[in-house]
Every structure is written in C-alpha cells, then in structure tokens.
C-alpha cells in the first residue's frame, strides 16, 4: 500500500498519463454523449456573463452547463493533486533548457510554474504582463478562432479522425515552435 502511495506521489510517466487522458474521450461520450473539449467553457462564460447581443454568444449556454462543471472539476483536481498527491513540486528539465533560462535570470524550479515569470510581482513587469495577460489573450482568442484547443482538436478531433483537427493541431505546433524559439527569447530578455 505504501509503495502504491509513493508511486502516485511521484510524477507520472507519459505512458501512464497519456492513456489516462485518452480515456477521457470514451468516458465523456458514455456519460452523456459529450465531446471532450475545454476551451468551449471560456465561450460559455462569455455567453453567461457578457453576451452583449453578440450573435456568437447568443445561445442557451445552460444547455452546455456540463462543460462548466467539467472545468470546475479540473480546478478542483489541480487543488487535490497539488495539496495531497505530490512529494515535491520541483521539476527536472533538460540541462540545455536550464542553461538557456539561466541567461534570462530564471533559476527557480521549485514550482510547476516558474515563480520568476508567473507571480503577482511579475505582473507589474513588461515581461510578466506580456506573458500572463498577452499569452492568456492569445490562448482565448486563438482557441475560439480555431474552434477548439489541444483537448477538442488534438485529442478528441484526432481520435475521431477529423481532418480539420489535424490541420488545427499542426498549426498549434507551428505557432508554438515559432514562439518558443524565435519570439520568446526577445520577450524573456525584457
């Protein structure tokens, strides 16, 4: 029993976590014919809080309430995992990345999210503002424009052989490569 608990408290390898994430697809389908997707919850929040007579937000969001409960669950899951299921929150990463990030003054690996970048004081810096506020905006705008995110397109869409999702996934990756390798270095040196 203790061994099992200790295994759970360590980071899970990809071949355990990946299949579990894949199982979310049939679980949601069988629970109630729901297609896995998370970014739609952002749209439902807009429709519920600020529809402003915009056609895109004029629909019965209450019918999609399940998606908001699912999103709330993720929030709760994050809390449970961080509070009870972790030995340490330190992350081990590739030495080349450590070297690169040290050049930008990022040394703290104690948390899942680098405190050097994502923290309240950092919000007042240009770098932090671009990464947290600008990044969040791009995520919200881009996922809706693309009609889904990594869950809706890359997992659900690819699993059900939707070719538009393959296009979207390739563009997600392309955007990520461009940002991480070509633009991010400039932002990190601000």
């Amino acid at each position: 029993m203790e061994q099992i608990i200790s295994l759970i408290r360590q980071p899970w390898p990809w071949y355990v976590a990946g299949p579990l994430i894949g199982l979310t697809v049939p679980v949601l389908l069988l629970l109630g014919n729901k297609s896995f997707g998370i970014s739609s919850s952002l749209r439902h929040v807009c429709a519920a809080c600020m529809p402003a007579k915009i056609p895109f937000f004029s629909y019965d969001w209450k019918k999609e309430k399940w998606n908001l409960f699912f999103a709330l669950g993720i929030l709760l899951g994050g809390f449970i995992a961080m509070t009870f299921l972790r030995e340490s929150t330190a992350v081990t990463v590739h030495p080349n990345l450590v070297k690169e990030l040290a050049g930008y003054g990022i040394h703290d690996y104690s948390s899942l999210v680098p405190p050097d970048l994502f923290s309240w004081p950092s919000l007042l810096s240009v770098r932090g503002l671009i990464m947290m506020v600008g990044g969040g905006f791009l995520v919200g705008f881009g996922t809706r424009y693309a009609g889904g995110c990594t869950s809706g397109h890359s997992i659900m869409g690819l699993s059900s052989l939707q070719w538009p999702s393959l296009v979207a996934t390739c563009c997600f990756m392309a955007g990520g490569f461009i940002m991480a390798n070509l633009i991010l270095p400039t932002i990190l040196s601000l």
């Binding site: 759970i8 894949g22 669950g73 993720i74 506020v133 919200g140 424009y145 990594t150 059900s160 991480a180």
Partner: protein, 134 residues
C-alpha cells in the same frame, strides 16, 4: 452534473501528475528536448481512437441508452489562423486552457489573471467574428 465534475477532477489530477501543467515541460517540447509531451499526446490519441472504434463496432450506448454521436468538424481557415495564434499563446503561457485551470486550482493565484485574459480573448473573437477570415 456531479459526474462531469468528477470526470473533470480526475482529469485535473492527471494534468498535474503528468507535469502537463508545467511551463518548463512545454518549453522542452518546443525545443525538442524531451519526448514526454509527444508521448502523452500520441498515446492519448491512440487510446481515444481505439475507444471510439470499440464504441462504434459494438454499438455501445451511453449510460442513459442513447446512441453515441460525434459531430463532424467542418474545415474553415480559422483552424489555420486561430491555430497559429493559439500556438503562440500556448508557448508563452506554457499552458492550454485545461492546464490553466489546473494551475489556478493548484494555488498559483496569479493564473486567475491569465484565465480572465483568455475569457477576454474569447469575447473579442466573438465580437469581431464576422470581420475575420474563415
């Protein structure tokens, strides 16, 4: 609705345990320094694909007895433009919408700002939707 809350909770726990919520891990992926995330997405897609095949082949129904129905996605140019824009944001924040929720729940309170900004981005898209190429 409780069942979806529980499914979400399980998903959130997996996201944290898989370190998918880590900005560092996303950076590793886009620098081709680690197989971790490719392995996760790849194996998740394979398991999802096999599950859907099984559901279709054996005509498995939902717990309330409905036929399982997966709507087809239609192609439009938004998947290209929006996809690229989301990709930029993904590498900046080191998170897609799911991990953002898990981070906020996991106690990184400042991520609430990123989430609000994501809601704002969604709203702005809805506001200017007709003017954007699709």
């Amino acid at each position: 609705m409780l069942k979806y809350l529980l499914a979400g909770t399980a998903f959130g726990i997996i996201l944290v345990k898989a370190e998918l919520v880590s900005w560092f891990r996303i950076q590793e992926m886009f620098r081709l320094q680690s197989f971790h995330l490719y392995g996760i997405i790849g194996s998740a897609v394979i398991v999802g694909m096999i599950s859907i095949l099984i559901i279709k082949k054996f005509g498995i129904r939902t717990i309330s007895g409905e036929k399982v129905n997966i709507p087809d996605k239609k192609f439009n140019k938004g998947q290209i433009y929006g996809g690229l824009i989301f990709g930029l944001g993904w590498a900046l924040t080191g998170a897609c919408p799911g991990p953002l929720l898990a981070q906020a729940g996991g106690g990184v309170t400042v991520i609430a700002v990123t989430l609000l900004s994501a809601v704002a981005g969604t709203w702005v898209y809805g506001r200017f939707r007709e003017k954007l190429p699709h």
